[in-house]
Structures are given as C-alpha cells and as structure tokens.
Symmetry: C2
Subunit: 458 residues, 2 copies
C-alpha cells in the first residue's frame, strides 16, 4: 500500500517559529502612526498588544521559541497531516508529485487557531483578562473564542452584521467556546454609533468591525486587541505549518519542493506555509523555488493593488502599513470566500512580492469551485471556498507539468474544511454563482481616498 | 510537555477487522425472512448485498482481512488520534485517566465512512454500479456519497423530507461528492407513492426512507442497498476504531481500560469501539471490564425497549431481526441527535446486552448538551449532539471515580464533530431545548403492532 498520509509524532511539533524578517534581502519600510505619521514605536502599540507580541512584530531573530504552554494546546491537533494527492495526480494525468498540508483537522476547522492560541497565551501572561476582536465570516472569531476559553480569558467578538444575521450557527459555536458576540456596527463603541447614526440599517464591514474592536480595546485597561492575519507576529505563529510540512516531505523522501502554493486573503495561511520554504531561497539552497499566492479576482489585492501606505481599517484608527492595497474603502463583491475579502495584504508578503521573490495570481470563484469539486471527488475532502483557490492554483501547476513532462514536486496548504460553507456549494450546484469583475475604475476611485497619505518614497 | 495525543503511523492501520461473532458465549438467534418467517439465507439477501458482505454478516471467523484497496482509502484519515483528556480531568478533579478516540477527523466528520468505504469497495468488486440508501440527519448519506465517489459508483440517497427541506447544505455536500439526493417519501417507489397518496405532505421518516431504498435496490439489476448501522457487517467494519484505540492505549503505557463508553443509536460506533475491548472480557483477560452504552431518553431502545423480533423499517420489507426495539412504528421526539433516533438496536449489541456483558443508560438531551459545552471549553472540540451522550456518560464515570478515589482508566469514542449541528447548540443557548418524556404507554401502543410476529422463544 503506497503511503498517502505523512504524519509526525506530537514530539516533532516545532519548538520555534521561523521569523522571515531575519532573512529579508531588503529592509522593510516601518508602519507609521495614524496621527503623527512617524514610525510606530512599542509604546504606541502597548494599549493594544502584550509586549511579547510587540517584540515579535519587530524581532530580527531568525527563530523564536514557542512556549511549552502554547505547544501543549497546539498538540490537540498538531502536527497536522501532510498528504500525497495520489488520486488527484492520477485524475490529472500529471507527472508532478502533489503534496498538501491539511489544516482542517483543527478544532475549529482551519489554520486560525495556530495564532489564536499564541495570542491568548501572551495576553494571559501579561495579566490581560479580556480580548476584543472582529470577525467577518466567523473563522477568526471562533478560533479566538476557542483559544481564550482554554486560557480563561473573556473574548468579545464584533461580527459583521450581515454575517451575524445570515449565520446564526457561527454565533453558536463562538458561544459554545465561551465567546461573546456583538453584531457590528454596534452601539457599544463611538465608531459603531457614528455609522449607525448615518445608516441605522448598515450591514457592517470588516473595516468597521476592526475599528470597533480597536476602540473597545484601547478604552479598557483589562482588554487587548487581537488580529487574525496581516501583522508580522500573526504570520510568524503560522510558520508551524510550513516547518512541519518540510519535515514531512523529508520523511516522504522528497527534496525541497519546486513549487509552493497558498491561497491569499490577509496573508497568514499563505506566509505560514510559504515563508519556511522561502528561507531556502534566501539561503540559496533552492534559488529556483517558485512561490505562488492565489487570490480571488473579485478582491485582487496582490495582482491589482498598489504598493503604498494605507490603513488597516475603515475609520483610519490603525497604523499606516506598507502594503499592497485596494484602498481601505474598498468593498469587495459578496463572493463566498469571506476569508479572502480584505482590502490590504500582510506587509511582509507585500514586501517579498515587491522584491520579486514570489508571484501572485487571481482566480474567478467559479473556476475555484470547479477545482474544489474535483478535489472532493478525488481526495475526499470538502474544502472551504477560500481553500479552493489554492487547489485551482496547484491543479494549474500540475497541468503545466503534464505539458512539459516535468516531474516537479508541488506543495500547497489546504487551510480549512468547508463544513460551515455548504451554502456556497449549494449555490454553485444551483448555478447561482457569478463571476465578479474588478475594474481599473473601481481602483482609481478607491485610491482617491488615499491622497495625502505618506508614500513609500517619502 | 505531557503527551495529550497518541498517534499511530499509517502503517499501523489494522490489517483485519475483529468479528465478535467468533467469541460470543451464547449463539445469536437468526434473522427471519419477512414473508416465510424462516431463517434468512444468503440467497434471500443477494438482491440487496454483495456476497462478500453477506458472508461477513454470518462469518464465525475471529479476524477478517481488510482489503488493501479499503485500507488505502481509510488511510486518508486513519489511524485517527486518541487523546488523553487532561484538561477535562483537571476540570472534574477526578483521579481517573480519561482517553477518547476522535473520529471527527474523517472527511465527512464522523465514523460513518469506515463502513461506507468497505461497502462501496465490495459492491464495486461484484460489478455493481449503483447503491441506494436512506439518510436521516445526513451523516450516512454523506459518507456513502463520499465512498461511492472514490470507487466510481453512483449513489442514490433517499433523505427524510423534513431534513431535506430544513438542511439544504446536507444535500449540497452529498452532491459535492457526486451523490444524488431524493426527498422521501418520493414518487420514485411504490412505498413512497403509497405514503404520498395517503398524505401528500408527509414529512417522511427513517423507516419510510429505508423502505424506499430497499425497494429501489431490489427492483434494479445494477443496484444494491447499503445500511449505515445495525447489521453485523457494518459493526464489523467499525472495529478499526477499537483496535486502533487498544494499540494507542498500549503506546501510552496503559493496560486495558476499566470502563469503555460509547453513544448508542443503531449501534455501529458503539460496537466498533467496544467490541474489540470486549474480546478481552470474553477471553477472561479482563473479566471486570465495564462497558456502557449511552442513548437518548427520548429514544431509549436499550433501556426501555423489548428484546424480540421486529422489522428494521416501517413497511415491513426488511428481515425480522432479534433486537431491542421500541416497535417499528415508533416515531421518536424531534431531538437534535438525529443519528440516535432509531427504533431498533443492532442485533449483536442487543444479544450482548441480553447476555449481561454490558450495560445501558439513557440521558436527557439537556444534560448532554451541558456536558458538550464543558467538553468544548476544556478539550476544545465541538462534538456532534449524538457524541455529547458519550461525553455525559464518561463524565459521570469520572465523577464516580472522584467519589471513590479510584484511578480507573475510562476510554470513550467521540464519533463526530458538531460543525453541521450548530443550530442545535444555538437552540441550547437560546434556552429552547426541551426534555422529552418516554412513557410506558407509548411503548405499549407500539408493541401492539408487533402482535403475531415470531418471538425469540418460539
């Protein structure tokens, strides 16, 4: 029987995170204070984050030790399995060997708990008793509720109102883990009240929910803020994925992969998988490593966005970050990959893309769902709509190998299951999914709002 | 760091199923033909099942080899992890050591694919190209659609209409795997047409859906029938769970467990976990092994049912089976544990219970959800409503150990995740869950319909 699943023992769970900042060929531009426009210092971030995470945000150490308390919670599902996609290879008729890392085995069904656990731990260590956050589709709010529950912290989730109304079971699983869920915009914050005054029926947005969570955290001594993607420390915590995958490929008798693929929203599942492999590119162990980010055509941050300073939220309360952005006022089309609908990109990924060390592709949701169906019927896993983007990207690479006859190793990160997202598949089978255009005109209009903000040059 | 998760390598996946029939201290009464009332022979079952499964149904061999083609699909998620429930132990303050086997890592989120894969394989081997089945809540229909997809078989699912209407995403995941879903009662079968003629708005029931699937299979040359629980061969296929758990406990340095607990619907997840351990009771290696089945108080088949011959379906088309039954006309209250709402019990489990080798308990759904919430907040897993029954049973055992001070080993089978069942948790948190009474009067009325059927004595 040929091996299909490569597992690691609990004792092989990585003992340190990989910090790509230590290996960057070019220095990162600093984030800027939203008021002064000066580089942000630790003291600026202290009301929102524990010092350990602020240090990780700027650390230049290559390896950062994972506390035992964090590892022992991660061990509830980690190391996650790596699969050789033998059935998919056969269906495609490709000479490529395809491997995928499967993050859907986590308690909440995605990669999100990898950082939620670490963030909850460091906050608890600093005496914080409550964390505020936002959630769109619900995966991040669920992961943080889960992690806060295990560390005895209260978790306050501002959930985009339209999702709150449409997905009552998402509220239920957050409550199951002990989280408190508030539809956003809410009357609980000044940011929320202003939006509601202008539009009492506002459906909310991720940008608004971030503004509310940040305000909540900034205004209470016992409370910090937590973000599920984008920031350097979040990407850092996700590197357990790529580090495990590297050990598993070695166990399977493979050298380093030729192609690494991830789906791209804010950047954390992508970077968590790709950065550990990219260190071999920076090290010149594997100069020709190809790294590909797959994003939705309806929210093409990396492929169509501008690399410049922008805010992370709608109200302009977060630091200005150097990133590919579609403009902080951008409202993506209501595609089913809620986790990929963010106007900006993680500054670290933006920087690496700008440096020419990776590439990005945008896919339409219809072709992604087609890939997801093929994957379910060959590999047996019902992937989250977000994850169908990376499946599509990996299939395209495998078909390229079929044309050229190259026996390449393709590795990708399958970040979550679709058991919460069957309504999206139902829409697909009913023929109700649309393509979504993104035009230069939309981008131009959004970019007008950024006039006057600092640019990278200056 | 103390180990919390005990994993096995893919190569340690069991190579044979354990057949409890070889070890039964007393012989089983035979199933009877619904027409002749004579013991059923292989030729009676041939229109419905492949000969390999019919042989397994009556085999007296202790070990039955698992085909490599089946093992290689099971390897997509098996061996599943065994957990030491350290956080739950601590929360309870018990000296007991609690272990649970986690079947929620399967592609469809429950233990059901363990037998679906084997059944699809044997049917394909016999040249069958289509399988008909029924599903209530949807777990079984999903598992069989998944398995049929991987073996290139068509899968026709008759889904209880009220579930079909209430849970459109269940239809979507079956379609994702290539299954065809028909609300039941339907116009496609004589059984369905009769029900619809009498009541065009019939919400359907599991018993009706079984009748339709059996009729579909019996009337087509290319089609067989598949059942997700109750039958001997189904229980056999599930024994990989207990066999793996035994190896994992050994790896954790434990002797055989003192108490084994499972939740009970038709009997397959319970037996799959418990029977391999019970062989040590039949062998006299562990005479004092305690085995406990936990069922819903609203459908108390083992604790209140009568041990006698009854049909498996509403229309009386299946063989008469020797089992604990609430009567084949019994309609359980609409509790959220859809997978535990069946009027009968697996004949093998009924026989073992009747012989005094195990015990059964009935729990109210409210106390089960309470246990489920405690489990989610300690162990991090959102269990299916069905699985909360075994959590409640295990907690009760652990609290008994707390009183007595006994350092017992308690092992239980957590058969699935609740990611499809968050509406049930939402109802729990909203205070909308009810207790459900089961009265002797209900039982008496149901039993009247069984008058005239053969009894065990004669």
């Amino acid at each position: 029987m040929d091996a299909t699943k490569i597992t690691l023992d609990e004792s092989e769970l990585p003992k340190a995170w990989y910090n790509v900042q230590a290996d960057l060929p070019e220095p990162m531009p600093p984030p800027l204070h939203p008021g002064t426009r000066e580089p942000v210092g630790p003291e600026d971030l202290a009301p929102l984050f524990p010092m350990a995470l602020i240090q990780q945000e700027v650390s230049q150490e290559r390896w950062i030790e994972i506390p035992d308390e964090v590892r022992s919670v991660l061990a509830l599902w980690r190391p996650s399995p790596l699969y050789r996609a033998r059935r998919l290879e056969k269906a495609l008729g490709t000479p490529a060997r395809i491997y995928y890392k499967w993050e859907g085995v986590s308690p909440t069904g995605s990669h999100k708990p990898n950082t939620a656990v670490a963030q909850a731990y460091y906050n608890q260590q600093e005496g914080i008793s409550r964390i505020a956050t936002e959630t769109g589709a619900g995966q991040w709010g669920t992961a943080l509720s889960f992690a806060c529950g295990l560390f005895g912290l209260e978790c306050q989730v501002y959930m985009v109102r339209i999702s709150f109304d449409q997905k009552p079971y998402r509220k239920a699983i957050m409550e199951l883990y002990g989280g408190k869920v508030q539809p956003s915009p809410s009357e609980a914050t000044e940011a929320g009240r202003q939006i509601l005054a202008a539009d009492p029926d506002s459906p909310g947005s991720l940008g608004i929910a971030i503004s509310e969570a940040v305000e909540d955290a900034a205004s209470r001594e016992d409370t910090h803020y937590a973000l599920g993607s984008v920031l350097n420390h979040v990407l850092l915590h996700q590197t357990v994925i790529g580090l495990e995958a590297e050990a598993q490929l070695q166990k399977a008798g493979e050298a380093l992969p030729d192609v690494v693929v991830g789906c791209f929203g804010g950047g954390s599942n992508f970077a968590g998988f790709a950065f550990p492999f990219m260190r071999h590119r920076f090290d010149h162990d594997k100069d020709d490593l190809r790294v590909i980010a797959c994003e939705p055509a309806s929210c093409p941050t990396l492929t169509k966005g501008e690399y410049r300073y922008d805010f992370g939220d709608t109200a302009g309360m977060t630091p200005l970050m150097p990133m590919h952005t579609l403009g902080h006022n951008f409202v993506p089309a209501p595609v089913h990959s809620g986790g990929l609908r963010y106007h900006g990109a993680a500054p670290l990924v933006s920087h690496v893309l700008q440096g020419g060390h990776m590439q990005a592709r945008a896919y339409q949701q219809l072709e992604c769902f087609e890939a997801g169906v093929q994957f379910a019927r060959t590999e047996g896993i019902a992937a989250a709509p977000e994850a169908t983007h990376v499946i599509k990207g990996a299939i395209d690479e495998a078909l390229r190998c079929k044309e050229t006859g190259d026996e390449e190793v393709i590795a990708f990160n399958l970040c979550g299951h679709g058991h919460f997202d069957m309504a999206a598949y139902a829409a697909y089978f009913a023929g109700d999914l649309e393509g979504h255009e993104f035009t230069g005109k939309m981008l131009d209009e959004n970019m007008k709002a950024l006039e006057g903000l600092p640019t990278m040059a200056g």
